[in-house]
């Protein structure tokens, strides 16, 4: 299965990005091959509105079944749930560390938004 991680950079040792919709990169990890793929999310950095919605669509397009991030807003959560993508919380560390915690079952699953909507 594929897991997308909100990242500040394009490598596995990049720090996590605390934002979901405006994270510049998602590192998509394949649990079968152990490989990472960097997916550019930069088009949403400057979008006036709906960055979380667009980002959720981008993640759905990667075929990821799970996503790791620090904060998820209500609109992003609705789109991710519609796409049957599970959300896991990880507040800090690197992408690789987050993936290890995910594989060890240490990350808390999110079932509702943990931050409010903003514009």
């Amino acid at each position: 299965m594929r897991v997308a991680v909100a990242s500040t950079g394009r490598t596995a040792d990049s720090q996590l990005d605390s934002r979901f919709g405006r994270a510049p990169v998602f590192m998509v990890y394949d649990t079968e091959t152990g490989e990472y793929q960097a997916v550019d999310n930069g088009m949403n950095l400057n979008s006036a509105q709906g960055a979380g919605i667009q980002t959720a669509q981008n993640i759905a397009a990667t075929g990821a079944e799970a996503v790791i991030g620090a904060n998820f807003g209500p609109k992003a959560v609705l789109v991710l749930q519609t796409a049957s993508i599970r959300m896991y919380l990880c507040q800090s560390g690197t992408v690789a560390e987050a993936v290890e915690k995910f594989k060890a079952g240490e990350l808390q699953e999110l079932t509702a938004a943990n931050v409010r909507s903003h514009w």
């Binding site: 979008s47 509105q49 709906g50 960055a51 919605i53 667009q54 959720a56 669509q57 759905a60 609109k75 609705l78 789109v79 519609t82 796409a83 514009w119």
Partner: protein, 280 residues
């Protein structure tokens, strides 16, 4: 004649100037509060209860029986108000700008429209002056100010003088408020913030091709940078309002500028005529 009172910076005295202009005119006039996020002209004008109408915008509804989940509507939408994941689209009505594009690109005729209220427009009459008072008010939680401003302007009747009290800033609500007016008064104050935001407002008016003059409020305070800026850029200063404890006292009781400084009444009455002269 339609005169909009705008500014870059908030709190410079737009409403103070707009109300003073409207009550001093001496001709049948109306005051339109286009500052729909925080309309406060009625604190000073005290209109008797009149009529109120709801302002709505249209947002798409998806007929899921007709929808083929092709996703064209979601790809078209620039505002991310529609999302399709191989499913009939999710709709986020608060992001929709009612452009109608989704309906045009839908090959299955699956998009219909429903009204969503975003605010209201009330029309009343100031009991003391007979002034017609129109107020747009954005609904709490709604972010679409321009449709409410447009509706408030549309409610204005054809009187000799219309004063539009604009929101602050230089973005969409301001553009909507000032578009189509004959003249704009930019209210500022002699402070670094006042100057900075005045330059933004001047750029906006020049971009829109609207003629304007500047009103300097609390003119004897602060520094002379606003005066210098106006002189260097050939910008007409139509009025300087003195800083006065008396104005603050009357204002704090809901009184108008011309009640505080009656000598300004004649000055404000002559402003529309002066603007007419400048327009030639």
């Amino acid at each position: 004649m339609r005169i909009a009172v705008a500014s870059g910076k908030g709190g410079t005295g737009k409403t103070t100037v707009a109300v003073a202009l409207a009550v001093s005119s001496g001709v049948p006039a109306q005051y339109v509060d286009c500052d729909v996020e925080e309309p406060n002209g009625s604190i000073f004008l005290k209109p008797a209860a009149g009529s109120t109408e709801t302002v709505s915008v249209q947002v798409p509804e998806i007929n899921e029986e007709r929808c083929t989940s092709c996703g064209r509507c979601a790809r078209f939408c620039r505002f991310n108000a529609l999302v399709s994941l191989g499913t009939p689209p999710l709709v986020f009505p608060e992001l929709c700008h009612s452009c109608g594009g989704c309906e045009i690109v839908c090959p299955a005729d699956a998009i219909t429209w429903k009204d969503v209220p975003v605010g209201e427009v009330s029309i009343g009459q100031d009991t003391r002056t007979g002034l017609r008072v129109i107020q747009g008010k954005l609904k709490v939680g709604s972010v679409l100010a321009p449709p409410v401003i447009k509706a408030a302007k549309a409610a204005a009747s054809n009187l000799p003088l219309t004063i539009l009290d604009s929101p602050p800033g230089t973005s969409c609500p301001v553009i909507e408020a000032v578009s189509g007016v004959d003249y704009v008064l930019l209210v500022t104050e002699p402070t670094p913030f006042g100057l900075h935001d005045l330059t933004l407002a001047v750029d906006t008016m020049e971009e829109l091709g609207l003629p304007f003059s500047v009103v300097i409020n609390r003119a004897d305070e602060g520094d002379d940078r606003v005066e210098n800026y106006c002189r260097e850029n050939d910008i007409h200063v139509i009025l300087r309002i003195p800083h006065s404890r008396r104005v603050a006292e009357v204002y704090s009781r809901g009184g108008t500028l011309v009640e505080a400084l009656p000598e300004l009444s004649r000055v404000f009455r002559e402003i529309p005529g002066e603007i007419e002269g400048r327009l030639g």
